[in-house]
Amino acid sequence: MNTAPLSLKQAVLVLALLVLCAPAAQAQPDEVLIDNSKVLGPLKRSAVAFPHGTHMAALDCLNCHHRMEKGKNTLDAGALEEKAKGVRCQDCHAVKGTRIAPDLDPTQTPLMQAFHKQCLGCHQKTAALGKKTGPRTCAGCHPVAKAKAAAKAEPKAGS
């Protein structure tokens, strides 16, 4: 990987491109449907439509994606590609007996708790600082109307 520092000219060019592309990126937010029914079994609440793009715009990848070793996040942000092992929360945080990737760092936090801590915990902390943040209510992430609509639709396996 080329890690040489950018020249000022290159940096300005990259920035300009980013700024130009930004409206397009925001118009079509990169949304991920978080459906962990493979790990958790039938879901009690609706799957979460997670606006990944909004989070990418506001945070660094390693603010959320992590592989903790001795209290340090050792994950390489460059390795975060969609299908790579260890990118998804359920790769490490799985309910006992259903661990999906046994070669990855084991963790004591089950999947649902990991999600709630990561999402809700951060939203709560950010709100307590008086900053704008994401939902902090159950239905904020798990809307009931969508759950009903999903139940009506043909039942299918989780993604």
């Binding site: 600082l129 008086g130 109307a145």
Partner: protein, 221 residues
Amino acid sequence: MDVLALAEGPLLWISLGVFAVGLVTRAALFLVESREKDKIFWQHFKWKWVLATMAKWLVPANRTVAKDPVFCALAYAFHFCLIVAPIWCLPHIIYWETSRLAWSFTALPDGLADWMTLAVLAIAVYLLIRRLSSPDLRYLSTASDYVLLVITALPFLTAYLSVHQSLGTGNLLGDNMQLIHILTGELMLVVVPFTKLSHAVLFFFSRAATAVEFGRREYSI
């Protein structure tokens, strides 16, 4: 910090604190005063009578049950659902899980928690009608009895509306139902030590007092 952050942060801990410390204080004050004033009671105090009365009055095996089985069944169901549903419903456990204490325990199935919530509400309505329709009860009732019934029922009503998003979204009430639920729950917790709801703890003392009085007179406990 917005209202929700306030409600699920400091206000939650304050209300739980007022509830717990308040109830312990009520119990302690009761005991201290009783030690001073109820000399005869303490001279005759026997754990045998006290434990017997608890066993008899905490399960449906007492005289009142035979006298009014419907009311008793409903009163038992009301108290059982009122205590069990809030402790073991999934959303509340998730609050514990994400709290600093990181407590986790098995939740009631959603459907069961729903029915228990509806049971509390239905029985609360029954209790209100009963209080209004019986001349004796009406005479004995004060405004606070009605207010306390409403304060007790509100967290359950708002819980149901919040979980099912019954009022929809895009309106002030619907969008803030979880906040309203948290606030009404906190209101109930806070009023418990200062009102008749303190029977949550003082029930045991009044029951014990009656048992010792009856016991020393050799009446049936």
